[in-house]
């Protein structure tokens, strides 16, 4: 096995393109999974089971089927129904949706961890239900769950290579393409491996900073 710095240099422009796509997928996927997960968690507390039951069934289904199957389904089946999105859009949505079924459980735990006394104080002060959620319960719940949500960001990063399966050229896609064209596997795969470690390390630093800001 020989290492060729020239190949590394050669791969760099492709690597940059792939990195940008990976970061986009990660950032947008995170935002979607955080927002959608909260929506699911709140709907699961709806007073009527006509809301809880369908939401529970759908999220259970999504959580227990492979992300790869969902990617294929959204990318190849939806167009048959006349819904066509770009590969990246589809991929971001699939990751966000898939992970929202995990983050909803994180939110649920966070909401349940807010002491009953907080609800009681809100009742005693006659705060409207919506205000109780937005001003009292959610700020405390979300503060508690930031570390757990952070873990899912790292997981999501490690799942972004799956987008390759629906033709998105994220880091692994670029590495594979380069490898096949130049018959050099070591350099591109090593470069993106290191990049994955660096991105997840940076993401964890960011999340820890966020945590420190929130937990005061």
């Amino acid at each position: 096995m020989n290492w060729d710095w020239g190949a590394v240099r050669d791969f760099m422009p492709h690597f940059r393109d792939g990195l940008l796509v990976t970061l986009q997928a990660l950032a947008l996927g995170s935002v979607i999974s955080f927002a959608l997960g909260l929506v699911w968690a709140l709907l699961m507390r709806a007073p009527t089971r006509w809301v809880r039951w369908p939401v529970g069934a759908v999220t259970e289904f999504v959580r227990n089927t492979p992300l790869l199957v969902q990617l294929f389904f959204l990318f190849y089946v939806l167009p048959e129904w006349g819904l066509t999105f770009s590969a990246l859009t589809t991929g971001v949505f699939a990751i966000g949706l898939h992970y929202s079924t995990y983050t909803m459980q994180v939110y649920r735990a966070g909401i349940e961890a807010v002491p009953a006394g907080q609800w009681e104080a809100a009742t005693a002060l006659n705060l409207p239900r919506r205000r109780t959620w937005t001003a009292v319960i959610l700020p405390q719940a979300i503060r508690r769950v930031v570390p757990a949500l952070g873990n899912y960001v790292i997981s999501m990063l490690k799942d972004t290579p799956m987008l390759m399966a629906i033709t998105v050229l994220e880091m692994l896609g670029q590495a594979r393409l380069y490898s096949q064209q130049h018959f050099r596997f070591t350099e591109p795969l090593t470069v993106i491996g290191v990049a994955f470690i660096l991105v997840s390390y940076l993401a964890s630093l960011l999340l820890r900073a966020l945590e420190r800001r929130l937990v005061r």
Binding site: P115, G117, Q118, E120, A121, T123, A124, L125, N126, L127, P128, R131, A135, V136, P139, Q140, R143, R216
Partner: protein, 262 residues
């Protein structure tokens, strides 16, 4: 003094006979097989300070929780200021609940808000006060409870006694007619109890707010109460002015209880 409460001038409260601000009739509350309150009838006259004493599990706290609508009775009716609180439609409950404030054993301040916002949150969102009005009112109340310098602090930065005094200010900021005090010193370190009780004595003396107080502080009960109710097993065993209950109780059960706690 800003904690004045609207009181109907027609009500000349004579103990036991006047128009009652709070009235529970035939109230029964069960938790599973356990009957906490058993056909309870009792009322509180406007402006009076009533203390509920008795062993744990005798249903005292449940009465406060029923009045605050934190739980609902299995049977009976609850009336506050002439209006039905239970059973009643949700809209009416919200209206009447504005007349009632509560201070909890564990303070239950909102840890995500400053002291000032803990106090202004409900006046602004529920009563529709402007931020300035609410903050002015909060400052006066913080003065009253001796914490004028703590408005920017977080609850976690305060001692238990200070937190409880903020909680008292928070309840008063809604200008309730009835203040429910649920073992407000039970969770405090002994050296912090006096400060909280002093604040409450002050409020009892200087306002016409009606107080309903569950406490194990017998000295405090004797000081502020117009009437003391001795509870046991979901029933009122004995009721009377504090001198009578603490000085010369009629019931054996009351004597037993008092000799155990005093």
């Amino acid at each position: 003094m800003s904690v004045d409460t609207a009181k109907n001038p027609d009500h000349a409260p004579v103990p036991g006979t006047g128009p009652q601000l709070v009235r529970l009739e035939n109230v029964t509350k069960r938790f599973g097989d356990h009957t906490v309150l058993d056909g309870l009838d009792f009322g509180v006259d406007a402006g009076k300070h009533v203390t509920l004493i008795g062993p744990s599990g005798s249903g005292k706290t449940t009465i406060l929780r029923l009045l605050m609508t934190l739980t609902t009775p299995d049977e009976g009716t609850i009336t506050v200021a002439g209006e039905r609180l239970f059973p009643a439609p949700a809209r009416q409950v919200r209206e009447i609940r504005k007349k009632i404030g509560m201070v909890f054993q564990h303070f239950n301040l909102f840890p995500n808000m400053t002291v000032l916002r803990n106090i202004t949150e409900a006046p602004v969102t529920v009563l529709g006060l402007s931020k300035d009005e609410a903050e002015e009112r909060a400052q006066e109340l913080l003065d009253l409870v001796g914490l004028a310098d703590k408005c920017d602090a977080r609850p976690s930065q305060l001692s238990g006694g200070q937190q409880q005094r903020v909680a008292i200010a928070r309840a008063l900021a809604m200008r309730p007619q009835v203040l429910l005090l649920d073992e407000v010193t039970s969770a405090l370190d002994p050296e912090l109890v006096a400060g909280v009780l002093d604040v409450l004595r002050d409020i009892a003396r200087s306002t016409d707010i009606t107080m309903l107080c569950v406490t194990h502080e017998m000295g405090f009960a004797r000081d502020i109460s117009d009437q003391v109710l001795m509870f046991d097993a979901g029933r009122v065993v004995e009721a009377g002015p504090p001198e009578k209950i603490f000085g010369d109780p009629e019931q054996e059960r009351t004597r037993e209880f008092l000799s155990a706690v005093l």
